[in-house]
């Protein structure tokens, strides 16, 4: 799952750092991800994992790191 998240970040995150080697707890916004890019990342994750983020999870904190995104995906896939 983490590798797929990294690939999505590489394609859509517009990061100034390499998503393949970014520490899992690194702040993605500090790494250059804009709010617009975070929307693209969210939509790509929804498509990849066949999930939908509820409005309650549309928070900056949910997308602030690879680890945070993975936790959110795990939560949503477990709920399915």
């Amino acid at each position: 799952m983490t590798e797929r998240i990294r690939n999505i970040l590489k394609e859509h995150g517009r990061l100034s750092k390499d998503a393949a080697t970014l520490p899992e707890d690194a702040d993605l916004y500090q790494a250059g991800m804009t709010s617009h890019a975070s929307v693209n990342v969210m939509l790509a994750i929804e498509g990849t994992f066949n999930i939908e983020f509820p409005d309650s999870m549309l928070k900056r904190s949910v997308f602030e790191s690879i680890a945070a995104i993975r936790a959110a995906v795990e939560q949503l896939t477990a709920g399915g």
Binding site: N40, L43, R60
Partner: protein, 139 residues
Amino acid sequence: MAAGPLRIGVDLVQISQVANSIDRFGEAFTRRLFTDDEIRYCGTDPATAPGRFAARMAAKEATFKALGVADGGLDPRGVEVRRSASGACSLTLHGAARGHADAAHLGSWSVSLSHEGDYAIAMVVALAGKKQESVDSPP
């Protein structure tokens, strides 16, 4: 958060990036960010829609900055840009965005949009005082 009678926010959005998002994600993108009326106004013409959406994205982010909640992850659909028949734009806040504005006693809002080349910009000004639904900006 610093309190004061006047708040401003500004944001710049790259139109081609918005066009890319629309091409890639289609309605899933627009429906997450924009109200039905905004989607209706911006339309689907590739010559004009990306610029209109980009200007509204900038307005929403500028509003979050004026509210002091740029890091808070509010629903972008809670900030709506409305356009009058004369072409003047105004802001209407809904839901949590309205709640933040009310808590800060920010009752008057004004927005100005512009785009040139590949960029759209929005500036938002909020003034503390009695509540007004919206304040038109100059056309």
